[in-house]
Amino acid sequence: MNDMTPPKAAQQHLKIVGTRPLRPDGVDKVTGRAKFGADIHVPNMLIGKVLRSPHAHARIKSIDVSRAQALKGVKAVITSADLCDLPSEFIPAGEMMVNFKDMTRNVMAREKALYEGHAVAAVAAVSEAVAAQALTLIEVQYEVLPHVMDVAEAMQAGAPLLHDDMFTIGVEPRPAKASNIAKRVEFGFGDLEAGFARADVIVEREFATKPVHQGYIEPHACLASVSEDGQAELWCTTQGQFIVRAFCAKLLGMDVSRLRVTASEIGGGFGGKTVVYLEPLALALSRKACRPVKMTMSRTDVFRASGPTSGAKIWVKVGATRDGRITAADALLKYQAGAFQGSPVQPGAMCAFAPYDLENVRIVGFDVVVNRPKVAAYRAPGGPIAEFAVESVIDEVALRIGMDPIEFRLKNAAKEGTRAPYGPKLGPIGLVQTLEAARAHAHYRAPLKANQGRGVASGFWFNIGGETCASINLGEDGSVGLVVGTPDIGGSRASLSMMVAEEFGIPLDQVHAIIGDTTSLGFNFLTGGSRVTFSSGMALVEAARDVIRQLRERAAKIWEVAVEEVEWVEGHARLSGKGKTLSLAELAKTAGKTGGPIIGNAAINATGAGPSLATHLVDVEVDPETGKVTILRYTAIQDAGKAVHPSYVEGQMQGGAVQGIGWALNEEYIYDDKGRMENPGFLDYRIPVCSDVPMIDTVIVEVPNPRHPYGVRGVGETPIVPPMAAIANAVSHATGVRFTDLPMSPPRVLAAIDAQRGA
């Protein structure tokens, strides 16, 4: 547990935090020097490739690898027999708890292939061509089984059963029969019946969303090297090198201390790189071949075999009085988990009504397995799906009672002291401020033309802290080196360096941050949950204060005074009232003579992460002839607590909005009747490109988090929560048709318009 002093932001004028310096990783990235997952090469390296199931659901009767093993140039072939079979054991990772029994089966199918693209064997060979040829020589005997792709169908009695040992958790008494329903969750309080009885208006609707991929531009890639004595190294693109180490060590039966994992630069993760796919396979191949093995996924592999987020079916009912007070809110969420349990239905259920102050509320959720790739975390996992439905209904209720949608939200907005639907009372949050900023924004008053509509939606995400270590090494010239264990995805090297420079009172260019490998620090939870600037920042502030304490002690020794007489001011030790100073560089230069090198460390389990809330405004135009929706104008407003580097915060807000635009308008997995994905590439699975979106305007609201030394809240996930509802509301206002199914692609929009016309 961390115990930090109150927000420094409230105590002094900040010189670096809150400014917009150039990003420290910019030059390497624009010149091509930055090393991403696939950029690592070592001598004697083999190439690994994976054989994947062509069937959505099939029993594996036998695998014959003998012909592949005999091929010249093939150095190793593995199947599930080369990984540990593990009992059911849950541990935290990414959005959720992971089960090692499932994880070992997801990285390599055992009894059954559970989705098209499920790995069934892998080879390592001297070249990619030989590896590819070897895959064709592996003979797998399948017994093809009926498959199920839809969440509602999977919940039916008699649906094809993925796991005959899955009995729904959260239902009492425990079901006697296995089913595809892994879990039932429920949150809420109050008296729904009484609440709805008091309502003047009740809106009730069903919604559907499709699985969408995180769409990171860099595919999964890694290089593993296991020596004859069992020592192993792994370089990979990941959101958490310590989590990769933990997972791989478990799957391969290794001690974690024998495996050193280095995180490469990362070309996007968004939650999708919080799990392992290739990494344990590369290690197993390398262990067998006694040579380094490099593996990369193609884009097709990424789509067919790595986690999207859930598709879902949702039902929402909200009642309100004519004067704009919500009297009751009820929701039922059914989320696809993919082939193994663990959809984000639980956080989705907790987020669903979190922006509102409610007396009577219930959310029930179901986690359901289907024959699709196992879902992985995706920015605010579960939240965008639930809030798409809720914020659509909120908009419709406002419309029905004739109230401005922002005014309606303000009348019901959660604020400090509001009891969240999942139980606890909320601390200071900034939803009201984002709504007021939206109402005051010129965007909200701009005129609209025919076929155009404006939508509003708000969104909530918790943010987290978690286990975090950091160290600060004072160089002999007074420059400051930082080591953190959280990969930099969204600019954390900049934001962390800025907080440290602020603490020391030195120029930012004297501070240099690196991401350490798993041998350089104690355990760090991954980069996720919008936690890095919050948690690693908190650890580094603690470490910096430790270094400053040591520097004051060294200065006191030099001046032969008590340490209490020495203060630290703008990069200098200063003897109170005597005018004597020693700079950081001077103290660093004499560190050997005054007691040895100076380092600072901190190891914390960060708590006090404050939720971040957002409100988005969007204007759309709908072409009534084609159904195409064009985003005309978009404004994202969000509470950042304190924006350490506002440009990065704005980038997160813009990125989340754009991903939400793709989720709302175009993105979906399309399968044939055999459960095979038909659009596993960016030509057919269409994420937004620059020409699809206008400049995303941003407004940062700052309601400081009192539990962080600079008032920081995580900002990375919240901005993907409001877009789908905001756009659906805008499209509905433009067309007069309420859109409840995503994506709102041209054929669907046109069909709805035609149906309204009676065509």
Partner: protein
């Protein structure tokens, strides 16, 4: 004494109890007390799948977070994120 509030799924696992007074000074003591009182809850508590909110602040996997004599405590699912 501090109050523990249970709702939804957890309330069901606790035999329908919605609120109870707790004599626990920290999270570890609370978890032990709950496991003894509600055996159906025990496996869930041991799985690290739950966090404790004390007076609105969420503590995940932190045994020694103090519980004050007047604290309001909630047992909620752990949050991770993407």
């Amino acid at each position: 004494m501090a109050r523990l509030i249970l709702s939804g799924t957890l309330q069901k696992l606790a035999g329908g109890d919605a609120e109870l007074e707790i004599d626990a000074r920290d999270v570890k003591q609370l978890l032990r007390m709950l496991s003894e009182r509600y055996p159906a809850l025990a496996p869930h508590l041991e799985s690290d799948a739950y966090a404790i909110a004390i007076d609105g602040e969420i503590f995940q996997d932190i045994w020694f977070a103090p519980i004050g004599p007047d604290s309001e405590v909630h047992l909620i699912p752990a949050i991770r994120g993407g």
